[in-house]
Protein backbone atom coordinates (compact mmCIF):
# COMPACT_ATOMS: atom_id res chain seq x y z
CA UNK A 1 0.00 0.00 0.00
CA UNK A 2 1.40 3.40 -0.90
CA UNK A 3 0.97 6.51 1.21
CA UNK A 4 -2.05 7.58 -0.82
CA UNK A 5 -4.00 4.39 -0.14
CA UNK A 6 -2.91 4.30 3.51
CA UNK A 7 -4.17 7.85 4.02
CA UNK A 8 -7.48 7.26 2.27
CA UNK A 9 -8.40 3.89 3.85
CA UNK A 10 -10.98 4.22 6.66
CA UNK A 11 -9.80 2.99 10.08
CA UNK A 12 -12.16 0.03 10.34
CA UNK A 13 -10.68 -1.36 7.12
CA UNK A 14 -7.08 -0.88 8.30
CA UNK A 15 -5.02 -4.02 7.67
CA UNK A 16 -7.77 -5.57 5.49
CA UNK A 17 -6.49 -6.36 2.00
CA UNK A 18 -9.35 -5.24 -0.25
CA UNK A 19 -9.47 -6.19 -3.93
CA UNK A 20 -8.82 -3.15 -6.10
CA UNK A 21 -11.91 -2.28 -8.18
CA UNK A 22 -9.95 -1.32 -11.32
CA UNK A 23 -6.75 -2.48 -12.99
CA UNK A 24 -3.80 -0.12 -13.23
CA UNK A 25 -0.06 -0.17 -12.68
CA UNK A 26 1.02 0.33 -9.09
CA UNK A 27 2.65 3.66 -9.81
CA UNK A 28 -0.48 5.27 -11.29
CA UNK A 29 -2.02 7.94 -9.06
CA UNK A 30 -5.77 7.90 -8.69
CA UNK A 31 -6.49 11.40 -9.89
CA UNK A 32 -5.51 10.31 -13.42
CA UNK A 33 -7.81 8.47 -15.80
CA UNK A 34 -5.07 6.19 -17.19
CA UNK A 35 -1.31 5.86 -17.19
CA UNK A 36 -0.99 7.68 -20.53
CA UNK A 37 -2.61 10.77 -19.05
CA UNK A 38 -0.30 10.61 -16.02
CA UNK A 39 2.79 10.49 -18.27
CA UNK A 40 1.49 13.39 -20.34
CA UNK A 41 0.70 15.48 -17.26
CA UNK A 42 4.14 14.80 -15.76
CA UNK A 43 5.87 15.74 -19.02
CA UNK A 44 3.75 18.88 -19.33
CA UNK A 45 4.60 19.95 -15.78
CA UNK A 46 8.30 19.44 -16.43
CA UNK A 47 8.10 21.46 -19.63
CA UNK A 48 6.37 24.36 -17.87
CA UNK A 49 9.22 24.38 -15.34
CA UNK A 50 11.77 24.36 -18.20
CA UNK A 51 9.98 27.32 -19.78
CA UNK A 52 10.39 29.27 -16.55
CA UNK A 53 14.08 28.37 -16.68
CA UNK A 54 14.25 29.69 -20.26
CA UNK A 55 12.84 33.00 -19.04
CA UNK A 56 15.36 32.97 -16.19
CA UNK A 57 18.33 32.54 -18.52
CA UNK A 58 16.57 34.80 -21.02
CA UNK A 59 17.14 37.77 -18.75
CA UNK A 60 20.88 37.04 -18.73
CA UNK A 61 20.93 36.62 -22.51
CA UNK A 62 19.10 39.94 -22.93
CA UNK A 63 21.65 41.73 -20.76
CA UNK A 64 24.43 40.10 -22.77
CA UNK A 65 22.79 41.25 -26.02
CA UNK A 66 22.62 44.87 -24.85
CA UNK A 67 26.17 45.03 -23.47
CA UNK A 68 27.61 43.36 -26.57
CA UNK A 69 25.93 45.96 -28.77
CA UNK A 70 27.10 48.86 -26.62
CA UNK A 71 30.71 47.73 -26.08
CA UNK A 72 31.44 45.51 -29.08
CA UNK A 73 35.27 45.98 -29.20
CA UNK A 74 35.51 45.11 -25.50
CA UNK A 75 33.46 41.98 -26.05
CA UNK A 76 35.60 40.95 -29.03
CA UNK A 77 38.76 41.36 -26.95
CA UNK A 78 37.28 39.46 -24.03
CA UNK A 79 35.97 36.62 -26.18
CA UNK A 80 39.33 36.18 -27.90
CA UNK A 81 40.87 35.55 -24.46
CA UNK A 82 38.73 32.42 -24.07
CA UNK A 83 40.30 29.07 -24.86
CA UNK A 84 38.52 27.77 -27.93
CA UNK A 85 39.93 24.26 -27.45
CA UNK A 86 38.46 23.94 -23.96
CA UNK A 87 35.18 25.52 -25.06
CA UNK A 88 34.68 23.21 -28.04
CA UNK A 89 35.71 20.19 -25.94
CA UNK A 90 33.17 21.15 -23.29
CA UNK A 91 30.46 21.46 -25.94
CA UNK A 92 31.28 18.00 -27.29
CA UNK A 93 31.32 16.56 -23.73
CA UNK A 94 27.91 18.03 -22.94
CA UNK A 95 26.39 16.83 -26.23
CA UNK A 96 27.74 13.35 -25.47
CA UNK A 97 26.17 13.49 -22.01
CA UNK A 98 22.84 14.39 -23.64
CA UNK A 99 23.24 11.33 -25.85
CA UNK A 100 23.96 9.04 -22.89
CA UNK A 101 20.96 10.51 -21.06
CA UNK A 102 18.69 9.81 -24.06
CA UNK A 103 20.08 6.26 -24.14
CA UNK A 104 19.30 5.97 -20.41
CA UNK A 105 15.65 6.84 -21.13
CA UNK A 106 15.66 4.20 -23.87
CA UNK A 107 17.13 1.61 -21.48
CA UNK A 108 14.44 2.35 -18.90
CA UNK A 109 11.73 2.01 -21.56
CA UNK A 110 13.26 -1.32 -22.68
CA UNK A 111 13.40 -2.40 -19.00
CA UNK A 112 17.15 -3.12 -19.04
CA UNK A 113 18.37 -2.29 -15.54
CA UNK A 114 22.11 -2.79 -16.10
CA UNK A 115 22.10 -0.66 -19.23
CA UNK A 116 20.10 2.08 -17.50
CA UNK A 117 22.55 2.28 -14.59
CA UNK A 118 25.48 2.28 -17.04
CA UNK A 119 24.13 5.21 -19.05
CA UNK A 120 23.21 7.21 -15.93
CA UNK A 121 26.74 6.69 -14.57
CA UNK A 122 28.23 7.73 -17.93
CA UNK A 123 26.12 10.90 -17.83
CA UNK A 124 27.46 11.66 -14.33
CA UNK A 125 31.04 11.11 -15.49
CA UNK A 126 30.63 13.36 -18.53
CA UNK A 127 29.03 15.98 -16.28
CA UNK A 128 32.06 15.88 -13.99
CA UNK A 129 34.42 16.17 -16.97
CA UNK A 130 32.54 19.30 -18.07
CA UNK A 131 32.73 20.82 -14.59
CA UNK A 132 36.44 19.98 -14.34
CA UNK A 133 37.21 21.75 -17.62
CA UNK A 134 35.10 24.70 -16.46
CA UNK A 135 37.10 24.79 -13.22
CA UNK A 136 40.33 24.89 -15.19
CA UNK A 137 39.01 27.77 -17.32
CA UNK A 138 37.85 29.76 -14.30
CA UNK A 139 41.17 29.26 -12.52
CA UNK A 140 43.00 30.42 -15.65
CA UNK A 141 40.87 33.55 -15.85
CA UNK A 142 41.55 34.27 -12.19
CA UNK A 143 45.30 33.80 -12.67
CA UNK A 144 45.33 36.05 -15.75
CA UNK A 145 43.65 38.74 -13.68
CA UNK A 146 40.34 38.67 -15.55
CA UNK A 147 38.10 38.14 -12.53
CA UNK A 148 35.80 41.19 -12.17
CA UNK A 149 35.66 42.68 -8.73
CA UNK A 150 38.45 40.41 -7.47
CA UNK A 151 41.64 41.14 -9.36
CA UNK A 152 40.63 42.59 -12.71
CA UNK A 153 43.36 44.30 -14.66
CA UNK A 154 42.98 45.94 -18.07
CA UNK A 155 46.67 45.54 -18.96
CA UNK A 156 46.01 42.59 -21.29
CA UNK A 157 43.62 44.72 -23.31
CA UNK A 158 45.50 48.02 -23.41
CA UNK A 159 48.84 46.30 -24.17
CA UNK A 160 47.85 42.95 -25.70
CA UNK A 161 50.46 40.18 -25.78
CA UNK A 162 49.08 38.85 -29.08
CA UNK A 163 50.60 40.97 -31.91
CA UNK A 164 47.45 40.54 -34.05
CA UNK A 165 45.15 41.86 -31.32
CA UNK A 166 43.91 45.43 -31.52
CA UNK A 167 44.75 47.40 -28.37
CA UNK A 168 41.79 49.09 -26.71
CA UNK A 169 41.58 52.58 -25.31
CA UNK A 170 41.50 52.51 -21.49
CA UNK A 171 37.80 53.45 -21.19
CA UNK A 172 36.74 50.66 -23.61
CA UNK A 173 39.23 48.30 -21.92
CA UNK A 174 37.40 48.91 -18.65
CA UNK A 175 34.26 47.55 -20.33
CA UNK A 176 35.88 44.14 -20.83
CA UNK A 177 35.14 43.72 -17.16
CA UNK A 178 31.47 43.59 -18.21
CA UNK A 179 32.20 40.78 -20.64
CA UNK A 180 33.94 38.74 -17.96
CA UNK A 181 31.15 39.52 -15.52
CA UNK A 182 28.60 38.14 -17.99
CA UNK A 183 30.90 35.18 -18.66
CA UNK A 184 31.24 34.22 -14.99
CA UNK A 185 27.55 34.79 -14.17
CA UNK A 186 26.19 32.89 -17.18
CA UNK A 187 28.59 29.95 -17.01
CA UNK A 188 28.30 29.97 -13.22
CA UNK A 189 24.51 29.74 -13.34
CA UNK A 190 24.83 27.00 -15.94
CA UNK A 191 27.36 25.13 -13.80
CA UNK A 192 25.04 25.44 -10.79
CA UNK A 193 22.26 23.84 -12.81
CA UNK A 194 24.67 21.06 -13.78
CA UNK A 195 25.73 20.45 -10.18
CA UNK A 196 22.09 20.15 -9.13
CA UNK A 197 21.51 17.82 -12.08
CA UNK A 198 24.45 15.61 -11.11
CA UNK A 199 23.18 15.49 -7.54
CA UNK A 200 19.79 14.26 -8.74
CA UNK A 201 21.57 11.77 -11.01
CA UNK A 202 23.29 10.15 -8.02
CA UNK A 203 19.90 9.73 -6.40
CA UNK A 204 18.46 8.28 -9.63
CA UNK A 205 21.37 5.82 -9.98
CA UNK A 206 20.74 4.59 -6.44
CA UNK A 207 17.06 4.01 -7.14
CA UNK A 208 17.64 2.62 -10.65
CA UNK A 209 20.04 -0.04 -9.38
CA UNK A 210 17.22 -1.26 -7.13
CA UNK A 211 15.01 -1.64 -10.20
CA UNK A 212 12.66 1.27 -9.51
CA UNK A 213 12.57 2.46 -13.14
CA UNK A 214 12.68 -0.76 -15.14
CA UNK A 215 9.16 -1.99 -14.44
CA UNK A 216 7.29 0.53 -16.56
CA UNK A 217 7.71 3.57 -14.26
CA UNK A 218 9.97 5.53 -16.64
CA UNK A 219 8.65 8.99 -15.72
CA UNK A 220 11.40 10.18 -13.34
CA UNK A 221 14.12 9.20 -15.83
CA UNK A 222 12.18 10.80 -18.71
CA UNK A 223 11.57 14.04 -16.83
CA UNK A 224 15.13 14.28 -15.57
CA UNK A 225 16.21 13.69 -19.17
CA UNK A 226 14.22 16.77 -20.16
CA UNK A 227 16.04 18.83 -17.51
CA UNK A 228 19.45 17.55 -18.59
CA UNK A 229 18.79 18.24 -22.28
CA UNK A 230 17.67 21.75 -21.33
CA UNK A 231 20.98 22.38 -19.53
CA UNK A 232 22.71 21.18 -22.72
CA UNK A 233 20.65 23.62 -24.83
CA UNK A 234 21.67 26.53 -22.60
CA UNK A 235 25.31 25.66 -23.17
CA UNK A 236 24.69 25.28 -26.94
CA UNK A 237 23.73 28.96 -26.92
CA UNK A 238 26.36 30.08 -24.41
CA UNK A 239 29.25 28.60 -26.41
CA UNK A 240 29.00 30.68 -29.62
CA UNK A 241 27.99 33.82 -27.74
CA UNK A 242 30.90 33.73 -25.29
CA UNK A 243 33.68 31.99 -27.20
CA UNK A 244 33.19 32.74 -30.88
CA UNK A 245 32.86 36.53 -31.15
CA UNK A 246 34.89 37.64 -34.20
CA UNK A 247 37.47 34.90 -33.94
CA UNK A 248 38.94 35.81 -37.31
CA UNK A 249 40.94 38.57 -35.67
Amino acid sequence: MDSQSIATTPQELDGVDLPHPHEHPAYMRHHFEDIGQQREAANFGMWVFLLTEIMFFGGLFCAYLIFRNWYHPAFVAGSNMMSITLGTTNTAVLIASSFTMAMAVYSAEMRRKGQLVLFLVLTILLGFVFLAIKGVEWTTEYQEQHAPGINFSIQDFVHPKNPKAIPLAPDMAEKTQLFFFMYFVMTGMHALHMIIGIGILFFLVARASKGAFTEGHVMPIENFGLYWHFVDIIWIFLFPLLYLISRYR
Binding site: E40, F61, C62, L65, F99, H229, D232, F239
Partner: protein, 107 residues
Protein backbone atom coordinates in the same frame (compact mmCIF):
# COMPACT_ATOMS: atom_id res chain seq x y z
CA UNK B 1 -14.91 3.58 -22.41
CA UNK B 2 -14.03 -0.08 -22.07
CA UNK B 3 -10.77 -1.31 -20.64
CA UNK B 4 -9.68 -2.42 -24.11
CA UNK B 5 -9.94 1.02 -25.72
CA UNK B 6 -8.01 2.46 -22.79
CA UNK B 7 -5.23 -0.07 -23.34
CA UNK B 8 -4.80 0.75 -27.04
CA UNK B 9 -5.11 4.48 -26.35
CA UNK B 10 -2.23 4.55 -23.92
CA UNK B 11 -0.09 2.19 -26.02
CA UNK B 12 -0.34 4.39 -29.10
CA UNK B 13 0.83 7.44 -27.15
CA UNK B 14 3.94 5.71 -25.92
CA UNK B 15 6.50 5.93 -28.69
CA UNK B 16 9.94 4.45 -27.97
CA UNK B 17 12.65 6.32 -29.88
CA UNK B 18 15.30 3.93 -31.19
CA UNK B 19 19.08 4.33 -30.60
CA UNK B 20 19.96 4.84 -34.31
CA UNK B 21 17.90 8.04 -34.26
CA UNK B 22 19.78 9.20 -31.14
CA UNK B 23 23.13 8.35 -32.76
CA UNK B 24 22.25 10.24 -35.94
CA UNK B 25 21.25 13.34 -33.96
CA UNK B 26 24.38 13.05 -31.79
CA UNK B 27 26.68 13.05 -34.81
CA UNK B 28 24.74 15.89 -36.45
CA UNK B 29 25.23 17.95 -33.28
CA UNK B 30 28.98 17.26 -33.28
CA UNK B 31 29.25 18.21 -36.96
CA UNK B 32 27.32 21.45 -36.34
CA UNK B 33 29.60 22.28 -33.39
CA UNK B 34 32.65 21.86 -35.62
CA UNK B 35 30.96 23.97 -38.31
CA UNK B 36 30.11 26.83 -35.98
CA UNK B 37 33.68 26.90 -34.62
CA UNK B 38 35.19 26.80 -38.13
CA UNK B 39 32.90 29.50 -39.54
CA UNK B 40 33.76 31.85 -36.70
CA UNK B 41 37.28 32.07 -38.14
CA UNK B 42 35.97 33.43 -41.46
CA UNK B 43 35.27 37.14 -41.69
CA UNK B 44 31.62 37.61 -42.66
CA UNK B 45 31.07 40.91 -40.92
CA UNK B 46 27.74 41.15 -39.21
CA UNK B 47 26.67 37.73 -40.56
CA UNK B 48 29.07 35.95 -38.19
CA UNK B 49 26.66 36.53 -35.34
CA UNK B 50 23.64 35.68 -37.50
CA UNK B 51 25.10 32.37 -38.69
CA UNK B 52 26.40 31.43 -35.24
CA UNK B 53 22.96 31.98 -33.73
CA UNK B 54 21.26 30.18 -36.64
CA UNK B 55 23.45 27.11 -36.12
CA UNK B 56 22.83 27.28 -32.36
CA UNK B 57 19.06 27.41 -32.99
CA UNK B 58 19.33 24.42 -35.33
CA UNK B 59 21.25 22.42 -32.70
CA UNK B 60 18.74 23.36 -30.03
CA UNK B 61 15.85 22.31 -32.32
CA UNK B 62 17.46 18.91 -32.89
CA UNK B 63 17.83 18.41 -29.13
CA UNK B 64 14.26 19.57 -28.40
CA UNK B 65 12.64 17.57 -31.21
CA UNK B 66 14.49 14.28 -30.86
CA UNK B 67 16.34 14.01 -27.54
CA UNK B 68 13.38 15.59 -25.72
CA UNK B 69 10.86 13.67 -27.86
CA UNK B 70 8.78 16.67 -28.93
CA UNK B 71 8.68 15.35 -32.52
CA UNK B 72 6.83 12.32 -31.17
CA UNK B 73 4.70 14.19 -28.65
CA UNK B 74 1.10 15.31 -28.50
CA UNK B 75 -0.08 18.71 -29.71
CA UNK B 76 -0.34 19.89 -26.11
CA UNK B 77 3.40 19.50 -25.58
CA UNK B 78 4.27 20.98 -28.97
CA UNK B 79 2.09 23.98 -28.15
CA UNK B 80 3.70 24.31 -24.71
CA UNK B 81 7.18 24.51 -26.22
CA UNK B 82 5.99 27.00 -28.84
CA UNK B 83 4.37 29.13 -26.12
CA UNK B 84 7.62 29.16 -24.16
CA UNK B 85 9.63 30.27 -27.17
CA UNK B 86 7.05 32.95 -27.92
CA UNK B 87 7.27 34.31 -24.38
CA UNK B 88 11.06 34.36 -24.60
CA UNK B 89 10.85 36.30 -27.89
CA UNK B 90 8.53 38.77 -26.13
CA UNK B 91 11.10 39.20 -23.37
CA UNK B 92 13.88 40.01 -25.80
CA UNK B 93 11.92 42.12 -28.29
CA UNK B 94 9.99 44.27 -25.82
CA UNK B 95 13.11 44.89 -23.74
CA UNK B 96 14.97 45.91 -26.90
CA UNK B 97 12.17 48.27 -27.99
CA UNK B 98 12.70 50.08 -24.72
CA UNK B 99 16.47 50.38 -25.15
CA UNK B 100 16.37 51.25 -28.83
CA UNK B 101 13.62 53.86 -28.57
CA UNK B 102 15.17 55.86 -25.74
CA UNK B 103 17.90 58.15 -27.00
CA UNK B 104 20.62 56.96 -24.64
CA UNK B 105 23.12 57.58 -27.44
CA UNK B 106 24.17 53.94 -27.64
CA UNK B 107 22.26 52.52 -30.59
Amino acid sequence: MTEKTKETHQDSEFHVVKPPVYLAIFFSLLVLTAATTAISYIDLGVFNAVIALAIACLKASLVVLFFMHIHYSSRLLKLTVAAGLFTFMLLISLTMTDYISRAWGMF
